[in-house]
């Protein structure tokens, strides 16, 4: 397989364009399958994609994201088609449980499905695309790690609408589902690199009362009250109920870990009782800090990402990459700065092509091994289409 012919951006989803691309690829790889990344505005095209793929007998899976990234800009039209030379194991799991007592059985079932397909290679990546409306992704990842552990590398992202409006956003050749996950087993594949580059300020506070992705109290006081104080003290910004939605994305929480790494959690909703809803769970008693846009060092972040890719599979120059860019990060930085980061990545990596989507949460670790963590505001990059990665 050539390394630069496995990802195609189609500016239009006319049936004949799709068909032509599949026919061309099928001539090279008769057992091929395809992963389709769609922007939200094109989600009505899913049945058409399913029909064309069925007609050509091409296995297909895909996900709908707020937007795509292509050529250093964000796109709301078209689609990315990502080819597998041979369709890997892929499964859709709709309606993941939220009740803690139902989670172990559901994860037992998912792990039981995956395990027989693991093969002998340790260079296997479990690629997970979640519906962003699933509120307990961090817990599900914990449970998955208990079952599959270090047998795979973990990478993934959240699909859905940027307005967090519930919608079916994950599909295969026959169905489209919501509140679930699309699991793909890529092999050989060596996972992904994840970076956010937020610098953590020194002041920290403790989330003393949390429920899943809702922070009720910080330092035993209503969360929003403390959030306002932190923003005022650290950045001189007055956040109130009226401007919360405008500001919150610029002042996300950081969850600190003993290894000095920070997990970003963007608050997306403010409740009457002063509690804050974040994208992603906040563990009880987690150590929180307040992050801020100007602290993002884009050049440093992109350098770290490129170095990570280098460690993962050698030089990215001339290779095809898959990228997930957090929608919250784009809101936070602004479209222009975000597109600068995309262009910087293209420039520093010298990649032949970067297929990407704007995601609503990302999954990965900063190292190649270790616990899969659910992040916000990050960039996740991996090689695509290389037989050794």
């Amino acid at each position: 397989m050539t390394s630069t012919n496995t990802a195609r951006y189609l500016p239009s989803l006319e049936e004949n364009f799709l068909d032509e691309q599949l026919v061309a690829w099928q001539a090279e790889q008769p057992k091929m399958g395809v992963l389709v990344l769609l922007p939200e505005a094109e989600r009505d095209a899913v049945p058409r994609i399913q029909q064309v793929c069925a007609r050509r007998q091409v296995p297909v899976v895909g996900a709908v994201f707020p937007a795509l990234t292509e050529g250093g800009v964000f796109r709301t039209q078209g689609a990315w088609l990502l080819r597998f030379d041979e369709m890997p194991y892929a499964a859709l799991y709709p309606d993941l449980p939220r009740e803690p007592e139902k989670i172990p059985a559901a994860l037992d079932a998912i792990a039981a499905d995956i395990k027989p397909h693991l093969g002998g290679s340790h260079d296997t990546t479990l690629f997970l695309l979640f519906d962003a409306m699933v509120p307990n992704i961090a817990t599900l990842l914990d449970e998955l790690y208990l079952r599959i552990a270090n047998r795979v590398h973990y990478m993934g992202a959240n699909a859905g609408s940027e307005s967090f409006k519930p919608m079916p956003c994950l599909f295969d050749g026959a169905s489209i589902i919501q509140n679930g996950v699309l699991a793909l087993l890529l092999q050989p594949h060596r996972g992904a690199v994840l970076e956010h580059g937020y610098a953590a300020p020194t002041q920290t506070l403790t989330a003393t009362s949390t429920e899943g992705n809702r922070i009720l109290q910080i330092d035993w006081r209503p969360a929003f009250e403390v959030y306002q104080e932190m923003a005022r003290a650290q950045y001189g910004v007055e956040i109130d109920r009226q401007n919360f939605y405008q500001y919150a994305v610029h002042f996300p929480f950081g969850i600190l870990r003993a290894n000095g790494m920070t997990l970003v959690r963007i608050p997306v909703a403010l409740e009457q009782d002063g509690s804050l809803f974040c994208v992603g769970e906040v563990p009880p008693n987690a150590l929180l800090t307040l992050l801020k846009a100007p602290a993002v060092d884009s050049a440093h972040t992109i350098d770290r990402l490129t170095e990570g890719l280098q460690e993962l599979g050698g030089s990215p120059a001339g290779q095809e990459l898959l990228l997930f860019y957090c929608a919250g990060r784009r809101l936070h930085l602004g479209i222009e700065a975000a597109q600068n980061e995309l262009r910087l990545l293209a420039q520093r990596s010298q990649a032949a092509q970067i297929a990407g989507a704007l995601s609503l949460g990302e999954i990965g670790g900063s190292t190649q091994w270790g616990y899969p963590l659910f992040h916000n505001a990050t960039l996740v990059a991996s090689y695509w289409g290389r037989s050794d990665t």
């Binding site: 270090n150 020194t202 920290t204 870990r257 003993a258 000095g260 009880p284 190292t367 270790g370």
Partner: protein, 550 residues
């Protein structure tokens, strides 16, 4: 970043997580998850109960929990032999691939570890291909957490032992009751069959069907002794086994090789016969292969006796599990065989029909007494309570002038009204002092549990409904259904009053007996509100006329 503040928060977070668990396995898993989350080590192991240090270079240690290593995860519960230098010693962060070689499997090579001893009891090892970056002193910050973890493990083990004791005691009681109950269901359905029977072969066939389909036994068949030269036993009816297959087997009630099986011996001796393991019992040798093939692991054969006391055949009941029949169950099934014998003889002599009905009722009553005994054996403090309630309820019902047949049903229901307490842990039933809300809610389930136990047994009286409703009150404040006034059967209202009077009269683990006057004051003060007024009045008259508990 202020390290001290960060460390304190991490410790707080970890201690909160550890303190939230009550069982060892989740406690260890949760602790490992927290450690991995905070340190970025990809894998962690826990070993507990390390053997004493004898200076040996290796240690045989049981792997109790694993997070993050797929291969080692398959070895949880196994004993691994590992270098003592790895498992023993203080808190240590070290790169030493040679020491970790035994833990490195295909595709995973560990070069670094963080050792965190748990008291002198065990050790946690965090493993990684290289030492993960951290600015914190990892060998020091987790020391207080490990000290607490040691205590938490001890507490969880105590809790698990206590819970296991409760569960096992309850399970034994449940299993016993399940067996009695399936025999009882068989008996009651069998009685219906007998009452309706008009023809002998249909009766035998239907009885075998009931034993298998209602009772849940594996196979049932009836054989009659033939007075031929071979003294053979002829299968007359069967269910759960192919008739043709049964017909090919040789049975004889003569004292020879083919006469030592349970069916043959039951006919020859006129006594019940039981084989606990049909796959290996030498008496069953000629039929071992067929027993294994048809999964008949234990066998009970009960003789069918004629009016002269001679066995003319046997009903044989097979269960799929070995040692399936206990004493009480056998007693009830013997009752079934007696009823069947009687039914057969009765069909042969229809003038006996009326006697048959009395015999059937006696069988059911015996079964109810057996159930009552099962409950009281387990709960000595209320032993005799059901019997005394039954006596008072019978007296009240008589005072109210109810028909004799109905009074009989009330007495029987009184005898088993607390059968549902079989589902309540014995510790709670006999607990001195006040009950917690949770404990009281458990006790409140006993009428519903009792109903579930009895609902499928066909009695001529609404016994199951009376058991379910005996804690209902006239004003709807009772449980489990909150029934009011006439929604509650009069029969039940009688048992409710008798139950309250006996309960207050008698000694309880949490208080002494209060005496008859206090018991009567209770029903009088709530007359017409909680308790049926005419039943209360009848109870007062009964006591006035000299009724006394034992």
């Amino acid at each position: 970043m202020n390290h001290e503040q960060q460390i304190l928060t991490i410790l707080y977070q970890m201690d909160m997580a550890i303190g939230g668990e009550v069982s060892v396995k989740p406690l260890l898993t949760r602790t490992l998850q927290q450690l991995l989350y905070h340190t970025s080590f990809p894998a962690g192991l826990v070993f507990l109960d390390l053997p004493p240090d004898t200076g040996a270079p290796t240690v045989d240690a049981r792997l109790e929990a694993v997070v993050g290593d797929f291969e080692l995860g398959e070895n949880i519960g196994h004993t691994l032999t590992l270098p003592a230098a790895l498992l023993r010693g203080g808190h240590e962060l070290r790169e030493d691939p040679a020491l970790l070689a035994a833990l490195s499997a295909k595709g995973n090579t560990y070069a670094a570890f963080l050792r965190l001893p748990i008291d002198s009891n065990g050790v946690i090892l965090l493993l990684s291909p290289k030492i993960p970056h951290s600015e914190l002193p990892l060998t020091r910050i987790f020391q207080p957490v490990m000290a607490n973890l040691g205590k938490a493990i001890l507490l969880c083990r105590h809790h698990e032992a206590y819970t296991a004791g409760l569960v096992s005691e309850r399970d034994v009681a449940w299993e016993k009751l399940r067996k009695v109950n399936r025999a009882l269901k068989t008996l009651s359905s069998g009685n219906e069959v007998l009452v309706r029977a008009t023809e002998e072969s249909a009766l035998l066939q239907e009885m075998c069907r009931v034993v298998v389909e209602v009772g849940g036994y594996h196979v049932a068949w009836v054989g009659y002794a033939q007075h031929d030269a071979q003294q053979s036993v002829l299968p007359m009816a069967q269910h759960g086994i192919d008739g043709e297959q049964l017909g090919k087997l040789r049975f004889s009630w003569a004292d020879d090789e083919f006469g030592r099986g349970p069916t043959e011996a039951a006919i020859r001796s006129g006594e019940q016969q039981f084989i606990a393991d049909a796959y290996t019992d030498p008496r069953f040798a000629p039929w071992h292969a067929v027993a294994i093939e048809s999964r008949c692991a234990s066998i009970l054969a009960l003789p069918l006796m004629d009016s002269e006391g001679q066995a003319f055949g046997a009903i044989t009941i097979d269960a799929a599990e070995a040692n399936a029949f206990d004493e009480e169950e056998i007693r009830l099934l013997r009752e079934l065989a007696n009823d069947l014998s009687y039914g057969i003889v009765n069909l042969r002599n229809r003038t006996e029909r009326r006697r048959s009905t009395a015999q059937l009722h006696k069988g059911l009553e015996d079964a109810l007494q057996a159930i009552a005994a099962t409950v009281e054996m387990r709960d000595p403090y209320t032993a005799g309570h059901q019997r005394r309630v039954a006596r008072l309820a019978e007296a009240i019902a008589t005072e109210l002038g109810l028909p004799q047949e109905r009074i009989h049903g009330i007495r029987l229901a009184g005898t088993v009204h607390d059968v549902g307490k079989i589902g309540v842990p014995a510790e709670i039933l006999s607990k001195p002092g006040l009950l917690s809300v949770i404990e009281f809610n458990l006790i409140k389930q006993h009428p519903s549990i009792g109903y579930e136990i009895l609902k499928e047994v066909e009695f001529p009286w609404p016994i199951a409904q009376m058991v379910r409703s005996h804690h209902e009150r006239q004003n709807g404040s009772g449980y489990p259904d909150g029934l009011q006034g006439e929604e509650i059967l009069l029969d039940t209202r009688i048992i409710a009053v008798a139950d309250v009077v006996e309960a207050m009269f008698s000694y309880r683990p949490y208080r002494p007996g209060l005496g008859m006057q206090a018991a009567l004051n209770e029903i009088v003060s709530h007359r017409g509100v909680l308790y049926d007024a005419q039943v209360v009045d009848a109870c007062l008259r009964v006591v006035e006329q000299g009724f006394k508990f034992d």
